[in-house]
């Protein structure tokens, strides 16, 4: 469904994303993890049209969409959320979601009705008439999700929708994401909350310093030496292994 090949971009002298190739199969939930500053959100920007890559290409549904403007990519069926939630604060939850719904519903009435249906799917129905800026962090994350869903995407890019939520809220949102996939929406998610990644993703890409360092199932990834070292520092995997052996002895 989504094929990114050899994507690179530099800001000044910093190579934020270097030669990244990844593919997301239809109907999957794919995770993208990596330490802070690894280039995950930059990669999202490249894929969704907010940034133009220096080299490489992005294909979506068999079409070359490299360098296409975000609104056109959205029209094709791919949309993203933002890590730092960006609600239309002065508007109600219903109006916020309707903006997304308007992509495929020209009439105001249809868009508002569809917004209500989407709100129900993500558990925002009781807050439809609230101003977006009066929502809690968890509410805003759900709103971000709902707005994106309202564009009826085939591929949804989620940028840390669980960050900043408490454990209770996380366990509430995880089934929402699974249910989104079950209704036929493919998901590519950046996530720090490993509980969610382990729970949801069938396959995981690991990014570190702008490079892909590993790919596999969540279980494979958590045992991968390079991944452990990317998070915990060089030589950590070796030390951990020795410590484990010492314990056994």
């Amino acid at each position: 469904m989504l094929e990114a090949r050899g994507l690179s971009i530099s800001f000044g002298g910093l190579r934020a994303v270097g030669d990244v190739t990844l593919s997301v199969p239809k109907g999957a939930i794919v995770g993208l993890i990596g330490p802070n500053g690894a280039g995950k959100s930059t990669l999202f920007g490249l894929v969704s049209g907010f940034l133009k890559p220096d080299s490489g290409s992005v294909h979506f549904l068999g079409r070359d969409i490299t360098g296409l403007a975000p609104h056109l990519i959205c029209r094709l069926g791919m949309t993203r959320t933002f890590q730092i939630v960006q609600p239309f604060g002065a508007q109600t939850v219903r109006e916020n979601i309707a903006v997304g719904a308007h992509l495929r519903h020209a009439s105001r009435r249809d868009a508002l009705a569809y917004a209500e249906a989407v709100a129900t799917r993500v558990g925002l129905a009781p807050q439809l008439n609230k101003l977006a800026l009066n929502l809690t962090v968890a509410g805003r994350k759900r709103l971000e999700l709902a707005r994106a869903l309202a564009t009826e995407p085939q591929l949804l890019l989620l940028d840390e929708v669980l960050a900043g939520l408490n454990p209770q809220e996380i366990t509430e949102v995880i089934p929402v994401i699974r249910q989104i996939r079950d209704t036929g929406v493919t998901v590519l998610m950046i996530e720090h909350v490993m509980q969610a990644v382990m729970n949801l993703a069938e396959s995981v890409y690991v990014l570190s310093n702008g490079q892909l360092i590993a790919q596999g199932s969540p279980a494979e990834i958590t045992g991968n030496t390079r991944v452990i070292e990317a998070y915990l520092g060089h030589g950590t995997a070796e030390r951990l292994r020795k410590a484990a052996e010492a314990n056994h002895a």
Partner: protein, 321 residues
């Protein structure tokens, strides 16, 4: 639908005014309030709904005014024929400025400064060319008949400006309940989010500045028909730009009635200060300044914000949210 009814009731009531009073100064106050409201409505489309704060809306006003005057004086056109050209020119100037500044992503104070600069450039140009009467300005010959869009009494002008304000109200009403309006407000609140949701940010902003420009040009055209005269300072000077933004900011930006309410408060205040302080030059401007400071500090959502806040507090009680 309630709002639509409100619009027509309001316009019907104002239309009755010439039947109820023959006082020239009273009708004049209504005309000038409606005129200020029209400029405010024009600014409100781009500033209030689109979040693009222009500080040079005179550029559209002046272009409309000059189109009206030049076509009548230099080409002998009928005023009715010149009017659509004036609106189109205001819109075209909007398209030009919008295409340049939105293409390069100018926002906030940069956009405000660019619009101010354009208004100044147009002022200097109109001061230079014989075509626009240069510094002397253009005098539109007096032909007091409706066929020439001039009127013997005040009532005719009141109906003319009321028609423009009605158009402004309907346009604003449409913005509040259309896909385009939803997109425009989304762009105002967050451009990146809007783009991610499939909104063509550039096109939406361009359409807003073109509508705003056309409505502002209607204000300029009205001015020429009312005063039969235009010069570079009246057309493109900063006074008009400020008048256009004061109304919506004081009344309530991005609302249907805000520009009208703001214009009414300002003109009421102007009359009041004139009554209390006499004809001290500029005293009404001082009063405006004080009101503006108070509004921005205590009521950033304008006078409408007061009612809104109350309505929302009331609602909170029954929804339990």
């Amino acid at each position: 639908m309630k709002e639509l009814a409100g619009i027509f009731v309001f316009c019907a009531l104002v239309a009755l005014a010439p039947l109820l009073t023959s006082s020239g100064s009273m009708l004049n106050l209504i005309i000038m309030t409606l005129y200020a409201a029209l400029l405010g409505q024009a600014w409100n489309i781009l500033g209030g709904f689109g979040g693009q704060f222009s500080f040079g809306h005179a550029v559209f006003f002046g272009s409309g005014a000059y189109a009206m005057a030049v076509l009548q004086v230099k080409f002998g056109w009928n005023a009715w024929a010149a009017l659509p050209v004036a609106l189109a020119l205001g819109s075209a100037v909007g398209a030009f400025i919008g295409a340049l500044s939105f293409r390069y992503g100018l926002k906030g104070s940069y956009f405000a400064l660019v619009t101010l600069a354009f208004a100044e450039v147009f002022r200097i140009l109109s001061n230079t060319f014989d075509f626009t009467g240069a510094g002397v300005g253009l005098m539109v010959p007096l032909k007091e008949s409706a066929a020439d869009l001039q009127f013997t009494g005040k009532a005719g002008y009141l109906y003319l400006i009321l028609a423009f304000v009605l158009a402004g109200l309907l346009l604003t009403w449409w913005l509040k309940r259309s896909r385009y309006g939803a997109w425009l407000q989304a762009v105002r609140d967050n451009e990146d989010s809007a783009a991610a949701l499939g909104v063509n940010v550039f096109r939406v902003k361009l359409a807003a500045i073109m509508m705003s420009g056309a409505l502002m040009a209607a204000g300029g055209a009205f001015y020429v028909q009312l005063f039969h005269y235009i010069d570079p300072h009246l057309a493109y000077g900063p006074a008009v730009s400020v008048e256009a933004l004061l109304g919506p900011i004081i009344g309530g930006m991005g609302t249907l009635w805000g520009p009208l309410l703001g214009a009414a408060v300002l003109h009421g205040l102007g009359e009041f200060t004139r009554g209390v302080m006499g004809d001290v030059p500029g005293v009404n401007l001082m009063a405006y300044g004080v009101v503006l400071i108070l509004m921005v500090t205590f009521l950033p959502q304008g006078i409408i914000g007061l009612f809104r806040r109350k309505a929302r507090d009331d609602k909170k009680g029954d929804s339990g949210a």
